[in-house]
C-alpha cells in the first residue's frame, strides 16, 4: 500500500487537479486497450465483516484482499465516522460505495490504484451562520437597496441606507450574489467569512439587461428585433410635464420634437420617419400592456406623470412591434411604470421649481417703430405718386401725420414681449415602495403646475399611481394598477395662441408704433395705426382668454397570472382607460382673437360653450406562455394570445349666445342655448402568437403572427394579418471569435422582416361608412329638418400595411466599454389611408380610400462609450439617424396630391418625390426696369417693380402651372448626444439633439410679414423695396402698388428656409449632499438644470423644431411648416431627490 502525503491548501488543490487531469487522460486511453483485461481485474471478490471500525482499517483490508493501492490525503479521513460493513464476494466498486455512503468522500478506480477525494457536495453538518457587511459603489458611497441572495438558495436580504446588510445563511460553503440595478452583479464565495464588504462596479453596458418586449421580457442578448430601451432614471433631471420631452435626442431612429411650447402640449414623436398622409403616424403608446388611444385630438401621453415611469422601450422594426401589429406601423413605445422592489420599504420625495422665459435670440426679424414708420412713409409717398392717394383726414395728397416723421420713433413696443412673461413651474412627487413576501405596492403621488410663457396660459396635473401585486400562493399573481389623474388646462387647449393670425402671430404683426396702454394706464384697444389693418391689442386678447379644460382620467390594469404546469403560464388582463374632459369656454367682448376687429365688441358678440367628452376604452387580453429547455441547449418559448378592445366616446356640447353681459362666464347666463350630443365607437379583435427559439443563446430565431379585425374598415375588408420572422447570431459566443478577437466582448448580427398595420385614420371612427347627416331649412317660416349624405362610403376600405425589413448588429468592445448598435431598415407602406379628393362634379369632396405606396429606408447608429472609469466617470451616448422616404405610387393614376390653391399649405405629394415636398413659385426677384418687364414672362397682376417668378412652362405667362418643387422638409439626418459625468458626489448630464438638412416653410408669417399693402408690421428686410427704376431697392423686394403685391406673398422660394439646428435640450448638475445619520432623510441630492439651454440655427422663426410638424395632427400634408406656434421657452430649474426614513 502506497500513501501519498500531499501538500496543503493551494498547492494541494493544484496538484490534485493535475493528477486528476492526468488520471482522466490515462483512463480514457486505458479503457480502450484494457477493456477485456478489465473484466478479469475487476472480477476480484471481497468479503468483509466489520463492526464500527475506522475506514482506514477497512481500506487496509481491501488492499490486502485485492492488491489495489489507495491514494488520498490523510486529513480527509480525520473526521470520518467509523464503518460497519458485511459483504461476501462483492465487487470492489460496490464495497467502496457502501463504505463511503453518507460520507463526504468519493473515489476513482484507476487500473490498480484508487484515488479518494473529499466530496463537498455532500453536506456534512448544516449550521446557520450570520454574515454582515457593507456594499458601496466604486467611490465608497453606500448603496441602498442592493439585493443579497444565497446562490441557489432561498434566503435574501437588502442593504440599508448605509449600505449595510445582515444575512443568515445555512453553512459556510456556497456564495452570495449581490445585485443592484445599474451595477454589475457580483458573486462572492463565503468560505467561512462572517463579514463580506464589497464594492459594486457600475454596469457600463446595456447588453446584459433585460428588456421589455411585446407581452413579456427578454434578455437583451437574445433580442432579434430593433429595440431601444431607456431607464427613466437617466432622464429624471429634466423638468418636464410630459415624458416625451425626456425622449428628445435619446434614441436612434426616434424623433421627438416640441412643435409648440404650450404647457402640457405639443410633443410629436416619429419613429423611423414614419409618415402617412392622412392616417396618424403617431407611435402606439402602451402603458403596462394597455394601448392608449387619443381623446379627440389630444395626445394621450399628457396625462402620465413622468415620475411614474420606470422605463421606456421603443419597438422599431416589424419583428419587435409585431404583436401590436395592427397599430404598430409607426412603431410602439412601451412604458413600464414603477413596481415595488424587494427590500426595505422606501419613501422618497422628488421635486423641482423652475422658471421659464422666452429665448429672445430666436424672434422673427420684424420692423421696429422707426423702420415701420419709414416704410409707411415711403408707402404713402409712392401711393401719392402712382395712385393719386388723397389722405381722407386732410383731403390733401400728403403722407399721414403718423408716418410723416419716422425719426421721432425708436424701437417702439415689443408686442411679443407684451404677450409673454417669465413663468414658474413646480413639481412634487412622493413615491413609496413596499415589498413583502406575499404582496408588494408602489405608489407615486404627483403634483405638477406649469404656467405658460404666453400670459394667461398654464397646465396643472394631480396624479396618483398605485401598483399592487398579490402572490397568495406560489405560482399565482394578482395585480392591480390604478392611476387616476386630474388635469386642468388653462387656455392651453383650443385657445388662440398657436397658428395663423392668433395671439403670437398677431403680436408679431402688431405695429410697434402703437402703445399697449394709454398714459392713464388704461389699455389701448387697437394695436395698429393709421391705414394698418385694425388689429386688436393682443395683450388684452390674451388676458381675456377663458377656456379651461378639466380632464379626469383613470388608467386601470388588473391581471391574473397563473403557472399552470412547469413552464406554462397563463395571464389574463383587463385594462380600462376612462376619461372625462369638460371644456368651459367663454368669449367676452374682448377675447375674440384671430383677425377680429379691435375690442370692445358688442354684448351680442359674447359666446360660451360647455363640452363634455366621456370616453371609456377597455382591453381584455389573454396570453398563454410556454417555456421549455430541451436537452439543455435548446431554449423554446411559445406564446399565444387573444385580445379584444373597444372604445366608446360620448360627447355633449351646449352653446350659449345672447348674454346680457360678461359677468357670469358660463352657458347658464346665456339667454339662448343650443346643444348636441353624439356617441362614437370603435372595436378591435385580435389573436396573436409568437415562437422564440435559441440554441445556447447563440443562434436565435423568432416568428410571430397577429390577425386583427377593426370595425373601422369596410365590411368585406375588416381583417388584416401581420406575420413576421427574425433571426440573430451571437457571434461572440463562438469559440473561434473569442480566441481570435478577444477585444470583442459581444457581437450579435440580426435581421427581421414582417408586416404591420395602421388603422388610425383621420380621427373618424367610421371612415368606411356612408353617412347621413342632419340638415335644416326654413319652409312656411318655420324650421324643418332634413337629411343629407355627409360622407360617401367605401366598403373596400382596409388596413394600411407596412412591409418592413431590418438588419443590424450590436457590438461590445473592451469588456463592453464601447458598445455600438447599427440598423438598416427598409419599409414599404402600402394602401395608404387617405381621403382622396374627388372631382367636385361628383357632389362630394372626398372619399376615404387606400391610395398609394410610400417607401422609407434609413440607417440608425447608437454608440455608447465609457470614456473614463474610476473616480471621474464620463459616459457618452450618441445616436444618429438617416431617414429617407419616397412616394412610389398614388392612387390609380399617380396624380399628385397638391395644394388646391396657391395660398393653402405648401406641401405636395408627388410620385418620385419625398413626402411633403414644398411646392410653389421660384422667386427671381423683381422686374427692375421696363425693359426687364417687357422682356419677361408676366402674371396677370405683374407690373414693373413687382415680383418676378420663374416661367417654368415657358409659355410667356406666370400661372399656377409655374409652381414646382422648391424644398424638402425631410432632414438629411437627425442626431442626439448625452454626456454624463460623475465625480465623487457630483454628477452632470448634458443632452443635445439636432437635425441637419431639412427645410422649413413659413407661408403663414411669410405671407403676412411680406404683405406690402401697408396692413401689418412686416419683416425688416422689406424696407428696401422697389420704388422706381432709379430707386429699385435690394432687387428682392417688390413695390407696394395696390393690386400687384399678392403674388409676392403666395408661397414661393422666398418662404423656404434652411431648417438645420442643434438644441441643447438639457444641462443638469447634481450633488449628493452628505448626511450624518439623519433620522428622517436617508439620501439627499440637489440639482440645477437648464432646459432648452441654447439653439444653434440659421432659421429666423421662433423655433426650428416646428420643422417636424405644423399644427395639430401629424400628416405628410403639413410637414415642415412653421405655423407660428407658441414659443418654446428656456427653463431653469432647481430640484431635490430625497430618500426619506
Amino acid at each position: 500500500m502506497i500513501f501519498f502525503k500531499l501538500c496543503r491548501d493551494k498547492e494541494k488543490r493544484l496538484i490534485t487537479q493535475q493528477i486528476r487531469l492526468v488520471m482522466k487522460l490515462t483512463f480514457v486511453l486505458l479503457i480502450a486497450s484494457l477493456l477485456q483485461a478489465r473484466a478479469a481485474t475487476f472480477a476480484q471478490q471481497i468479503s468483509l465483516n466489520e463492526n464500527n471500525v475506522s475506514l482506514r482499517k477497512v481500506l487496509n483490508d481491501i488492499h490486502k484482499q485485492t492488491g489495489y493501492d489507495f491514494i488520498f490525503d490523510h486529513d480527509i479521513l480525520k473526521d470520518i465516522q467509523n464503518v460497519t460493513i458485511h459483504v461476501k464476494n462483492a465487487a470492489i466498486g460496490d464495497v467502496l460505495s457502501l463504505c463511503f455512503k453518507d460520507k463526504p468522500l468519493k473515489f476513482h478506480i484507476l487500473e490498480r490504484s484508487i484515488v479518494i477525494e473529499y466530496d463537498p457536495v455532500t453536506p456534512v453538518v448544516v449550521q446557520d451562520i450570520i454574515i454582515k457587511g457593507r456594499v458601496t459603489d466604486p467611490n465608497g458611497t453606500p448603496l441602498q437597496g442592493v439585493t443579497i441572495g444565497l446562490k441557489g438558495g432561498q434566503v435574501s436580504s437588502v442593504t440599508d441606507a448605509n449600505g449595510e446588510y445582515t444575512i443568515t445563511v445555512p453553512g459556510r460553503n456556497g456564495a452570495l450574489i449581490f445585485s443592484y440595478v445599474g451595477y454589475e452583479t457580483k458573486e462572492v464565495k463565503i468560505n467561512d467569512q462572517s463579514n463580506i464588504s464589497i464594492r459594486l462596479a457600475v454596469k457600463n453596458n446595456a447588453l446584459s439587461e433585460v428588456v421589455i418586449v411585446s407581452y413579456g421580457v427578454q434578455s437583451r442578448a437574445n433580442v432579434t428585433g430593433a429595440i431601444s430601451q431607456l431607464s427613466a432614471s437617466k432622464v429624471k433631471d429634466q423638468p418636464v410635464g410630459q415624458f416625451a420631452q425626456q425622449l428628445q435626442g435619446q434614441f436612434a431612429g426616434v424623433q421627438a420634437n416640441i412643435n409648440t411650447g404650450k404647457p402640457g402640449q405639443g410633443m410629436e414623436i416619429q419613429i423611423r420617419g414614419a409618415v402617412s398622409i392622412n392616417a396618424g403616424n403617431y407611435p402606439l403608446v402602451v402603458v403596462d400592456g394597455q394601448p392608449l388611444s387619443p381623446i379627440g385630438n389630444q395626445n394621450p401621453i399628457n396625462y402620465i406623470n413622468p415620475n411614474e415611469i420606470e422605463s421606456f422601450t421603443i419597438l422599431k422594426d416589424a419583428s419587435a412591434s409585431a404583436l401590436y401589429g395592427s397599430r404598430a406601423a409607426s412603431g410602439v413605445i412601451l412604458i413600464t411604470t414603477k413596481q415595488a422592489r424587494a427590500g426595505k420599504t422606501q419613501i422618497s420625495y422628488d421635486g423641482f421649481y423652475a422658471q421659464a422665459s422666452l429665448d429672445r435670440s430666436h424672434v422673427p426679424p420684424m420692423m421696429n417703430a422707426r423702420q415701420l414708420a419709414t416704410f409707411m412713409n415711403q408707402f404713402f409717398q409712392d401711393k401719392i405718386k402712382y395712385e393719386g392717394y388723397i389722405n381722407p383726414q386732410t383731403g390733401t395728397a400728403t403722407v399721414p401725420a403718423e408716418y410723416a416723421n419716422p425719426d421721432q420713433y425708436g424701437k417702439g413696443t415689443d408686442w411679443l414681449g407684451q404677450v409673454t412673461r417669465s413663468a414658474p413651474t413646480q413639481s412634487h412627487n412622493i413615491s413609496i415602495s413596499d415589498y413583502r413576501e406575499r404582496s408588494s405596492t408602489s405608489i407615486v403621488a404627483g403634483y405638477f403646475k406649469q404656467q405658460g410663457v404666453v400670459i394667461n396660459t398654464g397646465y396643472e396635473r394631480y396624479s396618483i399611481r398605485a401598483n399592487t401585486e398579490f402572490r397568495p400562493v406560489d405560482g399565482l399573481k394578482l395585480g392591480f394598477n390604478l392611476a387616476p389623474s386630474y388635469t386642468v388646462d388653462n387656455n392651453s387647449i383650443g385657445s388662440p395662441t398657436d397658428g395663423s393670425r392668433q395671439i403670437v402671430m398677431g403680436a408679431l404683426l402688431s405695429s410697434p408704433i402703437t402703445r399697449p396702454y394709454n398714459p392713464d394706464g388704461s389699455p389701448v384697444n387697437q394695436a395698429s395705426g393709421f391705414f394698418l389693418l385694425a388689429l386688436p391689442n393682443y395683450r388684452l386678447i390674451a388676458e381675456n382668454q377663458n377656456n379651461k379644460v378639466r380632464t379626469g382620467r383613470m388608467l386601470g390594469n388588473s391581471y391574473l397570472q397563473v403557472d399552470l404546469l412547469k413552464g406554462l403560464t397563463f395571464k389574463t388582463s383587463f385594462n380600462i382607460d376612462m376619461a372625462q374632459a369638460a371644456t368651459n369656454a367663454f368669449t367676452n367682448q374682448i377675447a375674440a382673437a384671430g383677425f377680429n376687429a379691435p375690442p370692445p365688441r358688442p354684448v351680442s358678440a359674447i359666446t360660451g360653450y360647455y363640452n363634455t367628452d366621456n370616453y371609456i376604452s377597455w382591453v381584455n387580453e389573454n396570453v398563454l406562455t410556454y417555456k421549455k429547455t430541451i436537452a439543455r441547449d435548446h431554449h423554446l418559448e411559445a406564446l399565444a394570445g387573444y385580445s379584444a378592445q373597444k372604445l366608446s366616446e360620448y360627447t355633449n356640447r351646449s352653446n350659449g349666445v345672447t348674454y346680457s353681459d360678461a359677468s357670469i362666464p358660463y352657458v347658464s347666463a346665456a339667454t339662448t342655448t343650443t346643444g348636441t350630443s353624439a356617441l362614437t365607437q370603435w372595436s378591435l379583435l385580435s389573436s396573436f402568437g409568437r415562437l422564440d427559439y435559441n440554441y445556447r443563446e447563440k443562434y436565435l430565431f423568432e416568428t410571430s403572427i397577429r390577425s386583427d379585425g377593426s370595425s373601422k374598415f369596410g365590411s368585406n375588408k375588416q381583417y388584416g394579418v401581420f406575420p413576421t420572422v427574425s433571426a440573430g447570431w451571437v457571434v461572440s459566443k463562438e469559440r473561434f471569435i473569442q480566441r481570435m478577437l478577444p477585444s470583442i466582448s459581444f457581437l450579435k448580427i440580426r435581421g427581421s422582416y414582417g408586416l404591420t398595420g395602421n388603422n388610425n385614420f383621420n380621427s373618424s371612427n367610421y371612415p368606411a361608412a356612408s353617412l347621413i347627416g342632419n340638415t335644416t331649412y326654413v319652409l312656411n317660416g318655420a324650421l324643418v329638418s332634413g337629411r343629407t349624405v355627409s360622407q360617401l362610403g367605401n366598403a373596400d376600405l382596409t388596413w394600411e400595411k407596412n412591409k418592413q425589413f431590418d438588419i443590424g448588429f450590436d457590438i461590445g468592445l473592451f469588456n463592453n466599454r464601447i458598445s455600438l448598435t447599427y440598423d438598416y431598415y427598409n419599409k414599404i407602406t402600402d394602401g395608404l389611408l387617405y381621403g382622396i379628393n374627388l372631382p367636385a362634379s361628383s357632389g362630394f369632396g372626398s372619399v376615404n380610400s387606400n391610395i398609394g405606396t410610400f417607401k422609407f429606408w434609413g440607417h440608425e447608429l447608437t454608440l455608447n462609450t465609457a470614456n473614463t472609469t474610476g473616480a471621474f466617470k464620463w459616459n457618452t451616448s450618441f445616436n444618429i439617424t438617416f431617414n429617407r422616404n419616397l412616394i412610389q405610387k398614388l392612387g390609380t393614376q399617380n396624380l399628385p396630391i397638391l395644394p388646391l390653391n396657391a395660398y393653402s399649405w405648401p406641401n405636395i405629394q408627388m410620385v418620385g418625390q419625398p413626402v411633403g415636398a414644398f411646392y410653389g413659385y421660384v422667386n427671381q426677384g423683381v422686374y427692375m426696369t421696363t425693359a426687364d418687364f417687357n422682356a419677361s414672362p408676366k402674371d396677370v397682376t405683374s407690373t414693373v417693380g413687382s415680383v418676378k417668378m420663374k416661367d417654368l412652362t415657358k409659355d410667356g405667362k406666370i400661372t399656377t402651372d409655374d409652381r414646382t418643387i422648391i424644398g424638402n422638409p425631410n432632414p438629411k439626418f437627425i442626431y442626439g448626444m448625452t454626456n454624463s459625468f460623475a465625480y465623487k458626489r457630483w454628477d452632470m448630464n448634458i443632452v443635445i439633439a439636432g437635425s441637419y438638412g431639412g427645410q422649413i416653410a413659413d407661408p403663414l408669417l411669410g405671407g403676412d410679414a411680406n404683405n406690402l399693402d401697408g396692413a401689418f408690421n412686416i419683416y425688416a428686410s422689406n424696407l428696401h423695396h422697389w420704388r422706381s427704376q432709379s430707386d429699385p431697392g435690394d432687387g428682392k423686394t417688390p413695390r407696394t402698388l395696390a393690386g400687384t403685391t399678392a403674388l409676392y406673398r403666395t408661397f414661393n422660394t422666398h418662404s423656404v428656409h434652411p431648417g438645420s439646428y442643434l438644441t441643447c435640450k438639457n444641462i443638469a448638475i447634481g450633488y449628493n449632499i452628505p448626511l450624518h445619520s439623519n433620522k428622517y432623510i436617508s439620501k439627499l441630492r440637489a440639482y440645477v438644470s437648464v432646459q432648452q439651454a441654447f439653439v444653434i440655427t440659421k432659421y429666423q422663426g421662433l423655433s426650428p423644431e416646428t420643422n417636424n410638424q405644423g399644427t395639430s395632427g401629424i400628416t405628410g400634408l403639413v410637414v415642415g411648416v412653421d405655423a407660428v406656434q407658441y414659443p418654446i421657452a428656456r427653463t431653469i430649474s432647481f430640484g431635490l431627490n430625497m430618500g426619506l426614513f
Partner: protein, 514 residues
C-alpha cells in the same frame, strides 16, 4: 385544479370567437347611413329638405359676385386695409382678373354639384322605394326642378359641364368628361318637363318657399329664352301668368322680411333670423362699408372692420340709369353718410336717401344695397330671404319673348304692368329694336342687385359692348388696378373651371382663354 384553469381559458376563447362578428359591426349610433335610409315616404321628404340648403351655398357670395359685381351694376369700395386673399379673390371677379385658382368662384361650382348629387340620391332610389304616388310625384318634381336649377346655373357660368345624373356609387364613377352645352340643356329641359307633370298644378298662397310648378315653368321659360326659343318661352310664361301671381303694390315691399314668399315671389332662398337654428342670412354686412359699429345702419351693433364689407356697391352707371321719379331707386340703393377717423376707418353717422344726395363738406357718402337692409334682432344675423324669381321677371320675359317674335304691341301691356308699379309712365314704343332696348333697360332697373344683370347681358349678347364701355369710364380712376378689365372678350364670358377640378380629373379640359 389545473384542469379548471384550462377549462376557463377555453371558455374565454369560445366566448371571444362566438361574439366576434357582432363585436366588429359598428355603425354610428347617432347618425344614419345610406343602407338604412331612403326607404319610407318620410325618408324621401327629409332627403328633399336636404337639397334646399345648397341654395344658400350658391347664394353667398357667388350669386351676387358673379351675377352682379361682374357686370356694370356694382363694384367694390377699395378696402385698403384688409388685403386678405379671400377679399382679393372677390375683387378679382369684379375686375375681370380671372384665375382658375380663384377659390371664391369655385364655391359656385361646388355648391351646384353638391345640390345636384343630393337630388340624384333621391331620383335614383325613389321609383323602387314603393312609396305612395303623391309623395313620389311631389318629391320627384321638386328634386328635378332643383337639379335643373343647379345645372342651369353651371351651364350659364361655365359652359358644358360634366353631366352627373346618377349617384356616385364608386370612386371611379366620379371622373366624368364635360358634356356639350346642348346636352346639359337637354337634361335641364327633360327634368323640368317631367316635373311640370308631377307637381301640384297650382301653387298655394301664401307660399311655403318650396319649389312649385311656377318655379318649374319660370325656369323652363328662362332656359328657352337663353336658347332664343321665344315661342316655347312664351308658352311657359303664359302658363306662369295663370298661376295666381301678382305684383305687390309697393316695389320695396317685395323684399320686406314681413312679406316673404308673397304673391309676387316665384322662388326665393329661405332664411330666418335667430341664431339658435343657424338659418340667418348675412348679405347686408358684405354690402355696407367696414366700420367699427354698424348701429347707425343696421340698428344693431356689429364691428365689421376686419370683415369683407363694402362690396356689391351700386355704380354711378346704374344710379344714372334710373329714370327720374322711379320709385325703385330709393328702394334699391341707400346712402351712408359719415367721416374717416384717425386710424383711417370709416365712421357712419346717418342714413340718407340716394335721391338728390350730395355730401356736405367734411363728410363722405357711401352707396349700398338698401334693398336688403331690414332690421334684425341679433347683430350680424339678418332675416332677409334671397330672391331668385319674381313675377315681374315673368312679365318682362313675356314682353321680351313677344317682342322678339315680332309682336311688340302685345308685349307692351306686360312691360307697363312693371313700369306703372314703379310709378313710371307707360311705354308706347312699338319699334321692335327700340322696344328691345326699353325692355333690357327695364330689366336692369327692376332686377338691380338681384343677380340678373350678368346673365341678361350674356343672353342678349350685350356683355362685350356694355362692359367695354363701362370699363373705359371706370378705369379712369387710378385706384382701379392696371390689369382690371383687360380681357373683355368672348372667352372670358365664361368663368374658368376651378383649377382643382382639372388637377383631380384629367378628363376635364379648361375653357379656352384660361
Amino acid at each position: 385544479m389545473k384542469h379548471r384553469y384550462l377549462f376557463s381559458i377555453l371558455l374565454v376563447a369560445l366566448c371571444a370567437v362566438s361574439c366576434q362578428k357582432s363585436f366588429l359591426q359598428l355603425n354610428p349610433p347617432t347618425q344614419l347611413n345610406t343602407a338604412t335610409f331612403y326607404k319610407t315616404a318620410n325618408d324621401f321628404q327629409q332627403a328633399l329638405i336636404g337639397v334646399y340648403p345648397w341654395l344658400r351655398n350658391w347664394a353667398l357670395p357667388t350669386s351676387w359676385l358673379m351675377g352682379e359685381s361682374r357686370s356694370d351694376n356694382t363694384r367694390y369700395d377699395f378696402n385698403t386695409q384688409n388685403r386678405a386673399v379671400a377679399i382679393l379673390e372677390r375683387e378679382n371677379v369684379d375686375d375681370w382678373v380671372d384665375d382658375a385658382n380663384n377659390s371664391t368662384t369655385k364655391t359656385k361650382y361646388v355648391a351646384d354639384y353638391a345640390g345636384i348629387e343630393r337630388a340624384n340620391m333621391i331620383l335614383d332610389q325613389i321609383e323602387a322605394a314603393g312609396i305612395d304616388s303623391l309623395t313620389r310625384n311631389n318629391v320627384t318634381g321638386e328634386a328635378e326642378v332643383l337639379r335643373a336649377f343647379f345645372y342651369f346655373d353651371l351651364v350659364q357660368f361655365y359652359g358644358g359641364v360634366p353631366l352627373n345624373l346618377h349617384t356616385v356609387a364608386s370612386p371611379a364613377q366620379a371622373f366624368l368628361t364635360r358634356a356639350s352645352v346642348a346636352d346639359v340643356y337637354a337634361a335641364i329641359i327633360a327634368d323640368l318637363k317631367d316635373a311640370i307633370t308631377r307637381l301640384p298644378q297650382k301653387p298655394t298662397f301664401p307660399q311655403s318657399g318650396r319649389v312649385t310648378i311656377g318655379t318649374a315653368e319660370m325656369l323652363l321659360a328662362n332656359v328657352y329664352m337663353v336658347q332664343k326659343n321665344y315661342a316655347q318661352a312664351q308658352e311657359a310664361l303664359e302658363a306662369v301668368t295663370k298661376l295666381g301671381y301678382s305684383l305687390n303694390a309697393s316695389y320695396a315691399n317685395a323684399f320686406s322680411t314681413t312679406n316673404k314668399n308673397s304673391a309676387e315671389s316665384i322662388f326665393e332662398v329661405q332664411y330666418q333670423q335667430g341664431s339658435a337654428n343657424g338659418q340667418y342670412s348675412y348679405f347686408i354686412y358684405d354690402f355696407i362699408p367696414p366700420m367699427a359699429s354698424t348701429t347707425v345702419v343696421t340698428g344693431t351693433n356689429t364691428n365689421t372692420l376686419s370683415a369683407s364689407g363694402g362690396q356689391n356697391v351700386p355704380t354711378l352707371d346704374l344710379i344714372n340709369a334710373y329714370e327720374s321719379g322711379d320709385a325703385r331707386l330709393d328702394a334699391t340703393v341707400g346712402m351712408i353718410e359719415g367721416h374717416t377717423d384717425a386710424n383711417g376707418n370709416f365712421v357712419a353717422e346717418s342714413l340718407k336717401s340716394i335721391v338728390g344726395y350730395t355730401a356736405p363738406p367734411g363728410k363722405v357718402g357711401r352707396r349700398f344695397a338698401k334693398k336688403y337692409l331690414h332690421p334684425s334682432a341679433t347683430p350680424g344675423q339678418t332675416d332677409d330671404n334671397w330672391p331668385i324669381y319674381r313675377y315681374s321677371d315673368a312679365l318682362l320675359m313675356l314682353a321680351e319673348s313677344l317682342n322678339e317674335q315680332g309682336k311688340p304691341a302685345d308685349a307692351l301691356p306686360y312691360l307697363n304692368q312693371v313700369r306703372s308699379r314703379a310709378g313710371l309712365t307707360a311705354s308706347v314704343e312699338t319699334d321692335q329694336t327700340a322696344l328691345r332696348a326699353v325692355i333690357a333697360h327695364e330689366r336692369r332697373i327692376e332686377f338691380a342687385l338681384e343677380n340678373k344683370r350678368w346673365t341678361d347681358l350674356l343672353r342678349t349678347g350685350q356683355a362685350i359692348p356694355v362692359m367695354t364701355a363701362f370699363a373705359a369710364v371706370i378705369k379712369q380712376d387710378p385706384r382701379v388696378p392696371a390689369n382690371a378689365y383687360s380681357k373683355i372678350d368672348q372667352d372670358h364670358l365664361l368663368f374658368p373651371i376651378p383649377a382643382s377640378e382639372i388637377q383631380l380629373n384629367p378628363l376635364i379640359k379648361q375653357n379656352t382663354g384660361y
